[in-house]
Amino acid sequence: MQAAILSFPGSNREQDAEYALAHVGFSCQIVPSHSAADFSGVDVIVLPGGFSYGDYLRSGAIAAKLPIMHDVRRAAKAGRYVLGICNGFQILTESRLLPGALRMNTGQLFVCRSVKLNVARNDSAFSHLYQPNANLDIPVAHHNGNYFADPDTLEQLEAEERVIFRYGDNPNGSMHDIAGIRNSADNVLGMMPHPENAALAHHQSQDGLKLFASLAARIGS
């Protein structure tokens, strides 16, 4: 199983993602974002956390305009899995691979803490190993994690059952407590919390591990 972890200038959780992916059996390569990429041998593309381009202008906005995002879009169309975590989620919305936008937290402060995360759907490639409605402890670490979409989009997301994770104790003002959503083909997931920081034996929680394991199981089967 092959994972490609994109590294944009200013990404900083590439290695955190690699530790968790490697733990469930992926072999990982870190792919710099400055040239075109060939994802044909890759099972999952990960857009990691961080501050791509300093998060200047808007989080994820500048990274979303890079040519490599065309390759990501093509790979997603071809059915490869794409996982955007935190800044990765912001890049996915800015590049319209997922709907909506991530605004500044209502509290206006960066927030790093463990949150209660509810698995709203466990029928996804990214969540099928979780119990239905499982409650997880997973940390967030972001300044712009407040999910926003217009009413029609929200309605559509709910109707199509595309909200995969919801906050139990909403840390940022996200609409509908949205913490993570998928595309309709269920191969692209964006989420603000950091499952890779709740995955290893020495972490305070291991509740994020099943996300990576779900993917591994789906790809391996």
Partner: protein, 84 residues
């Protein structure tokens, strides 16, 4: 070619709550100013060469659409002034 100074004013769509504006408003009020309806937007200013004002404006609009504003949540308005 003329040099144009472009200002792109980006503001949150009016139907969207602006917590930063609210916070500034509250601080102002606690300092004794009876300010209300405060909103915070941003202004990107830049210089551009173009044949005429119409071209400058068209380019500015493209820049705003493609990068400077996110239509999911933001509106923008553009002013173009030739640079002397």
């Amino acid at each position: 070619m003329t040099e144009y100074r472009i200002a792109v004013q980006v503001s949150l769509r009016p139907d969207i709550l602006d917590p930063a504006g609210r916070a500034a408003e509250k601080s102002l009020q606690s300092m004794g100013f009876a300010a209300r309806d405060a909103r915070i937007g941003k202004t990107i200013t830049l210089t551009l060469d173009a044949a005429d004002a119409a071209e400058a404006e068209a380019k500015a609009e493209q820049m705003a659409d493609q990068l400077l504003a996110n239509p999911v949540m933001e509106n923008c308005s553009i002013t173009v002034t030739p640079r002397m």
